[in-house]
Amino acid sequence: MLLFLCRRLFSLAFVLLGVSILVFWLMHSVPGGPFDTQQGQLTAATRANLEAKYGLDEPVWKQYLNYMSHALRFDFGIPYQQPQTTVAALIGRTWLVTLQVGLLTIVVAFSIGICAGLYAAYHQNSWLDHLVTFCATLGVTVPNFVIGMWLILCFSVARSWLPLGGWGTSGACLFGKYFCTDWILPVVAYALAPMAIIARYTRASIVDVAGEDFIRTARAKGLSEVALMRRHVLPNAQIPMVTALGTEIPNLITGSIFIETIFRINGLGKYFVTSALNRDYPMIMATFLLIALLWGVTYMLTDVAYTVLDPRIQFGRRSRR
């Protein structure tokens, strides 16, 4: 196990290297530079000045080596969008907020989603099951910016029950700064789609396993439903569930630009989009390296989970002869 983890961490470094090359090359191939503002026309001289200042007039491979030599010392540069701070400070400050939103959303979406999925699987083909499927469909097809607006309209404008937005900055909080009222709407809007996805995967995975012969045998042998669920159904159902649900986690903790702008949350989510649109090269590199790191760790942990849930699974070995 330890050897496995060490090897994976080592390969993660290579993955990060590969991602850095890919992203660097891609972002420099895209037309339009960071200083072509949309409204004003920069004089040619001004643009030349800016590019020299940020080292953008050198060949791309040289810029890459320059960037990597700094990055390895954890100096990720200065964002063009906000030259008064550093990339590391900006990400640190904004990601903290996004993490809070994401973790809360994960708790809500996972708990309700798994319960709904379990319930639907247990009452397969009943009206409850169809209701869950129907709600899951709606939860995924109505985009979260529409849901966000409607939530605001219903709970904030038509009736002033909840604040319009903010994260811990408006509205009342329990214990000073925990469980604030302005947490409610963004988390609800953000959690609906993942909840739907989780419910469906849960239900389907459980139904999948429950139809197996060994379950029929165990039931015939007199095992109670609860024990059946706990000892036989769930462990086997969890392999696909872990994959699908595991995918949701890095998505949720990197935030959503829609939720964050509509609910006035000063988080990291918008930077994934705005840095690409503004050609903010340092931020693009940093955000994508962060994504690669998060996903690499998630994949590693899910692979570990596979071996825990199903001890027959072994990596790095060809299938048994």
Binding site: G32, Q38, G40, A45, T46, N49, Q82, L164
Partner: protein, 562 residues
């Protein structure tokens, strides 16, 4: 300063009769709320990228909700858009026509007690020109007049040091500006004459205003609280001695998404919303509610015109007949009435909006691009494409437009396609990709839809953008000659005006662009937001905030909310 303000407020609380005077000693109007309630709440856009409060640091990345309140400009513009004294009390030009002297009003102070001098302005201009600073508005001072400010271009290119700029402080109260060629509109252009403090620049760098501890202001407000992305609070400057002492005690900027501005307004969280953030659904709501309708104050804004532009150097738009066909195929009146909304725009047949200097108000130009589908088809047939046969399929580009504006441009394209039987697809491009294609030489933008609003109030500005070698792929030597000569003309206002009108006629007749609509700007305000400068209609019956009239900050106050 803060202690003094607090002491004053405590004093106010103890003497209620004096609760109606500001910290600068002005008496509040009779229908005003008490001074402690003179708080203006404005929305700030949390999707924009913003780095500074000051014009001289970056124009396109300012904290847009509370920008430029830490200094006064050299001039302000009155209700007829003529320059009037602001930080400068008078100005004059020498006989050579290129040397201007602006005389500062004496006795103006920075909020740290030091006097405001012409040396501050000189340091600011030099900063703006310096290649290290890479100011994003640098094009402006090479654009004014023929050749711009003396040595400006060479300094920006790094060929000369910043202190060779044609801006010098003759003494503490006199600022001299020298241009390469005559530029009669210089006073109006000094609407952009903001200043930073020389000492703070040297000590803390250009971003000194981003921190309340190092911020200094010579304007009506000072920075007291700054939480980037959440909240900005400005408080009235008790040491202000300028031309617009504020009646407001505080301005609070709350960050939110533009999609929720109107919602926040309805909830009472903010006091005003600009027209650009009001969606068509919001306008429908406003039109149905008499109170909202009465408090939507329309004004000219920056005289913005929406138009279609072409690459007239390549087929098919190199043929005048094709361009004329397109010009006559746009049903402007119907589009403005149906799609745009009469509250937001008026149909345009030329570049200059009625109300702008040298604009056509008699309808003389209206015929040249009027909607006439039969005539349009005739022109297209003359060009060799009867019924649209053989005409290449076009892709019209828009520059990252929001849905409401995109709808108008799509409607224009649909109007042309339906009338002429040609195929036009419309694509809303990322702004940088658009500008990249437009500015490429030769241009890669075959047909586009854009808007342009004035930078200063003179036909030389709005017509100047159409000159050869600029952003538009159209060229006419008579037009160039007329605009250049008129722009440099001093005195002889009628001759100048006539030349601009002739030039505009050429632009419209030769279809440099197909003009669609002139935009109305406006602000939706709460009924308790009062001030004669924007509540009282002017001679033309237009109320509302005027572009370039920053004196309203000395006039705006909160009335007694019922």
């Amino acid at each position: 300063m803060l202690n003094r303000l607090h002491a004053y407020l405590i004093f106010l609380a103890l003497t209620p009769a004096l609760a109606d005077t500001t910290v600068g000693g002005r008496q509040l109007p009779a229908d005003a709320a008490s001074y402690a309630k003179q708080v203006l709440r404005v929305p700030c856009d949390n999707t924009r990228n913003e780095v500074t409060f000051d014009h001289a640091v970056s124009v396109y990345q300012r904290y847009g909700c509370v920008q430029d309140l830490f200094s006064d400009t050299l001039v302000d513009l009155d209700s007829l858009y003529r320059p009037e004294p602001a930080a400068a009390e008078s100005w004059s030009v020498a006989d050579d026509g290129v040397t201007w002297a602006f005389h500062l009003r004496p006795g103006q102070l920075w909020s740290d007690g030091t006097p405001l001098t012409a040396h501050d302005y000189m340091a600011t201009f030099r900063l703006c020109a310096s290649p290290d600073h890479a100011w994003d508005f640098a094009w402006f001072y090479s654009f004014i007049g023929e050749g711009g400010l003396r040595n400006w271009d060479r300094i920006v290119a790094g060929e000369m040091p910043p202190d060779s700029l044609g801006v010098t402080a003759i003494d503490d109260l006199t600022l001299q500006l020298v241009t390469e060629g005559p530029f009669p509109a210089m006073p109006a252009a000094m609407k952009f004459g903001y200043t930073l403090q020389k000492r703070a620049l040297e000590e803390h760098g250009p971003y000194y205003n981003n921190d309340p501890a190092t911020s200094v202001s010579s304007g009506p407000f000072v920075l007291t609280e700054f939480d980037p992305g959440y909240r900005i609070v400005l408080t009235a400057n008790p040491d202000y001695t300028g031309y617009r002492p504020p009646l407001l005690q505080r301005i609070e900027g709350v960050y939110m998404s533009p999609a929720t501005y109107f919602l926040a307004f309805q909830r009472g969280e903010i006091d005003l919303v600009g027209h650009e953030q009001l969606t068509p659904a919001d306008f429908a709501t406003i039109e149905e509610d008499p109170t909202l309708q009465a408090n939507y104050l329309r004004h000219y804004g920056d005289f913005r015109t929406d138009y279609l532009l072409f690459d007239t150097f390549s087929p098919p738009f190199d043929k005048l007949a094709v361009r004329r066909a397109f010009a006559h195929a746009v049903d402007r009146e119907a589009i403005v009435a149906g799609v745009y909304g009469k509250a937001k725009a008026v149909a345009a047949h030329s570049m200059l909006m009625p109300g702008f200097p040298s604009a056509d108000t008699t309808g003389a130009l209206a015929d040249l691009q009027r909607f006439d589908c039969g005539l349009a088809r005739q022109y297209l047939a003359d060009a060799g494409y009867p019924e649209g046969d053989g005409f290449p399929a076009l892709e019209m580009w828009m520059r990252g437009e929001p849905p409401a504006t995109a709808a108008v441009y799509q409607a224009s394209a649909a109007s042309i396609a339906q009338c002429l039987g040609v195929q036009i697809q419309v694509s809303n491009k990322d702004g940088r990709v658009f500008m990249d294609a437009l500015n490429a030489r030769p241009t890669r933008l075959q047909m586009g839809a854009v808007s342009y609003g004035m930078d200063f109030l003179d036909a030389a500005n709005l017509l100047g953008v159409w000159m050869s070698g600029g952003r538009h792929s159209w060229s006419d030597s008579t037009f160039d000659h007329l605009v250049t000569s008129a722009a440099a003309m001093i005195g002889q206002a009628e001759v100048r005006d006539r030349m601009f009108r002739q030039a505009e006629r050429i632009l419209v007749d030769q279809v440099g662009g197909v003009f669609i609509a002139h935009r109305w700007a406006g602000d939706l305000m709460k009924p308790h937001l009062l001030g004669d400068s924007f509540r009282q209609p002017d001679a033309k019956g237009i109320a509302g905030r005027r572009w370039g009239d920053d004196s309203l900050w000395g006039d705006m106050y909160i009335g007694d909310r019922q």
